[in-house]
Subunit: 287 residues, 2 copies
Amino acid sequence: MPPRLTQARIEPTREVLVTDELGHVFTLRVPIERALTLYVDKAEVVTLMTLGAHPEWLVIGYLLNQRLVESVGQIESVTVDWQVGAAAVKTLDARPGAGLRDTGRIVTTGCGQGSMFADLLGQLAPLRDSPPATLRQSQLLQILDTVRLRDTVYKAAGSVHACALFEGERLQVFIEDVGRHNAVDSIAGWLALDESTRNPAPVRTLYTTGRLTSEMIIKAAQMGVPIVVSRSGVTEMGLDVALEAGVCAIGRAINRRFLCYTHPERLIRDSAGQVAGAPRPPQPHPQ
Amino acid sequence: MPPRLTQARIEPTREVLVTDELGHVFTLRVPIERALTLYVDKAEVVTLMTLGAHPEWLVIGYLLNQRLVESVGQIESVTVDWQVGAAAVKTLDARPGAGLRDTGRIVTTGCGQGSMFADLLGQLAPLRDSPPATLRQSQLLQILDTVRLRDTVYKAAGSVHACALFEGERLQVFIEDVGRHNAVDSIAGWLALDESTRNPAPVRTLYTTGRLTSEMIIKAAQMGVPIVVSRSGVTEMGLDVALEAGVCAIGRAINRRFLCYTHPERLIRDSAGQVAGAPRPPQPHPQ
């Protein structure tokens, strides 16, 4: 039985006054980050700073990605209350604090500060698929078009990251948050709820505006997603983990251009995916 | 007496092979993120993922910003050894684990995942300066020029954030790291070492390529820095904290343009700081 969830979506932006370099004063919208303190069976776990677009998915994905719960089946309910800035999770095994004692110390992650990496890398199993799950280059370009044309908080207010999940070229879910880790954790929460009802799971592609660091690739691999696409670049450890885990890491993906860093065998070149014009000189890091 | 420090700077990038959208294979450089596990008086505290440009400053700044030590004077030595990926901190009060027990639970932060915010906001005192510390607009434009012209890991390999500290328009220290929190923590470490020898401290400006979230503003206020400049935008809570703390938050600062979000009285318009040409229409979030 799927967990019971509130639907505590909240307004993501508000107007503020700013002064520009000429001394002109005008209004613009900024994203609203809110503190959401997570309690599992009444024990406090962590405070997340979030845009609050889909806080219940964020909470589920955070618990899964931090290995604080093993599966979505362990969660009885998630209750988000913005009035007190709290998300209360009830597990099926609801001895107070039981979930936390079982998993050992609490670790948080993000922007390279946290110990999740060291703990999880050892547990990471390479994706097993033979023949390998693939994406056609034409589908990748459609994914980039879909992302580019979408009406977003980013377009309205800037300063947020987006993650999205695609099945082939079809958008399944699109999430923005103040941090790229919250965005991908929310995707993981959505995915866990979706996969609890589907067997076998389809081949999916994860899109992120954030960089492909090791933590981002680990989260994709934990979700069983074999293809990860980023508007930004990659770090060496992100690349190493992607190689190891069997993840096709694609970066600098904007409009009709991209760089494939690892496992190019998952990306099938087809005629509709060709880019017109002469080859460009290598550009290591377009902004 | 200042703490004894190793100088364990390490190569920040390496070459990798990539495939572009036309199927061309070529090399480019990517930044190398390394796991650095921090021990204080032999007790493990956290694992940071870092570029490793100035790991000793990072460690000191992390301990200060997380309030795990109260001042740089409490630190006897910082020893970084990349062979084992460890940073060993010895405090003057070196009972094993003493520092950790004194400060309560360990919190980490970054990308909005962590509980530092809730703990620190209550302790944050507004900057006390009367008349207020200021920066001239012409100095701000010189700061932006200095940042733009600098030879950086970002230009060579992308995918890193930079932070820098200025005294007036003069660059004091420039740090890049895989995460913006590591970069600003390294700045905080440098600053703590510098201020232990200077009295009174000069007025400084913090530059960051990252967004001005609440955590970034809190760190600036903790450092006593009254002016923060970002290439990116702001979040609502970053703006609220800046208002409260007396920090002048300036965003979207590229070339000769910027937006001042809070405390415009700290930014003095002068003739050399004027921008030629007609007023532009408001652009809420140029990329």
